[in-house]
Amino acid sequence: MRHRSILLIVTFLLAACGTMGRGLTVRDAWARPAGGGTNTAIYLTIRNEADGDELLSAYAEGAAETQLHRSIIDDEGTVHMERQSAVELPAGETVHFEPGGLHIMLVDLEDDLQEDDTVPLHLTFRDHEPLTLSVPVRSP
């Protein structure tokens, strides 16, 4: 398991430089600004070059609760949200967390999240070692 952890860290560092490695790569993470006491979301992309895995949970510091959610918009334009117990990360595929779809929901923020702030985010996977990243807050 130890070597897998090192591989993940190296892969993540490479990804920060825009280079794809073999393993899990988390890229393009950002959080939307929001006021304290409200909710917001983190978006990111996970590329899985290894065997199939699952994102089991996310924990964002500064939020009372962090949940995995998917917004589903029907043909009438009505949106409802479904909480995800886990998010599948198929081998060789890229999973996008993006507005109107999968997102990491931050519930009841302790303080305002403003542009240029960062949010420490901890991700837990079924097979890979946990990953912590610093997510920038920005307005798209």
């Binding site: 939307r32 600004p33 929001a34 006021g35 409200t38 909710n39 917001t40 979301a41 609760e65 959610h69 917004s71 918009i73 009438e76 334009g77 009505t78 949106v79 409802h80 949200m81 909480r83 507005p99 109107g100 997102h103 929901m105 931050l106 519930v107 009841d108 307005s139 798209p140």
Partner: protein, 182 residues
């Protein structure tokens, strides 16, 4: 015999879903954050965008409001003024001040509207809006299923088009520039 120039102009290709026979936009019998009654008719003379959402919405509502804030900023830079109204579909949890505070994160010129369940029902019916609190969650933490469309009202108060979630910002801009004659 002269032919009016307007007849020669190409028809506008709406990026949103256009109303073929525009009718007056339904009045919205709700209150602003300061407690005064809102009158859509007071906005005649400027195009307006109307959106129904709620402040605890983590994903679709802030994404839409960020788009509308960008749009208003772009048009303001071009010398135009548009109005934006946000109607909470979660009046039991969204106080008028909470709505105002929330909107100030996007654009301090956005107008938040609030009302009783009965008043909200009238506003929703006028625009064909569905909303319902989801059963999961407790009294403080729950999500609301709701219609995500944005409605465009022209300067004469006519309902001209509506837009689905995820409509590109440039598409909104294209239609508004048409209405503004630029």
């Amino acid at each position: 015999m002269s032919i009016p120039l307007a007849n020669c102009a190409p028809a506008h290709h709406w990026r949103g879903t256009a109303y073929e026979d525009p009718t007056p936009a339904p009045e919205i019998p709700l209150r602003k954050a300061d407690g005064t009654h809102f009158r859509l008719a007071d906005w005649h003379g400027q195009p307006a965008l109307i959106y129904f959402g709620y402040t605890h919405c983590p994903d679709v509502c802030p994404a839409t409001l960020a788009d509308l804030a960008w749009l208003r900023q772009e048009l303001t830079a071009e010398g135009h003024q548009i109005r934006v109204a946000f109607i909470t579909v979660d009046p039991s949890r969204d106080s008028p001040q909470a709505v105002a505070d929330y909107l100030s994160n996007f654009d301090d010129q956005f107008v938040g509207l609030h009302g009783s369940d009965q008043q909200l029902a009238v506003a929703k019916e006028g625009y064909g809006i569905y909303s319902a609190r989801d059963e999961s969650g407790d009294e403080e933490h729950y999500t609301v299923t709701h219609t995500t469309r944005v409605f465009l009202v022209d300067a004469e108060g006519l309902l001209r088009a509506s837009y689905s979630f995820g409509t590109p910002r440039q598409d909104f801009l294209n239609d508004l520039r048409y209405l503004l004659g630029s």
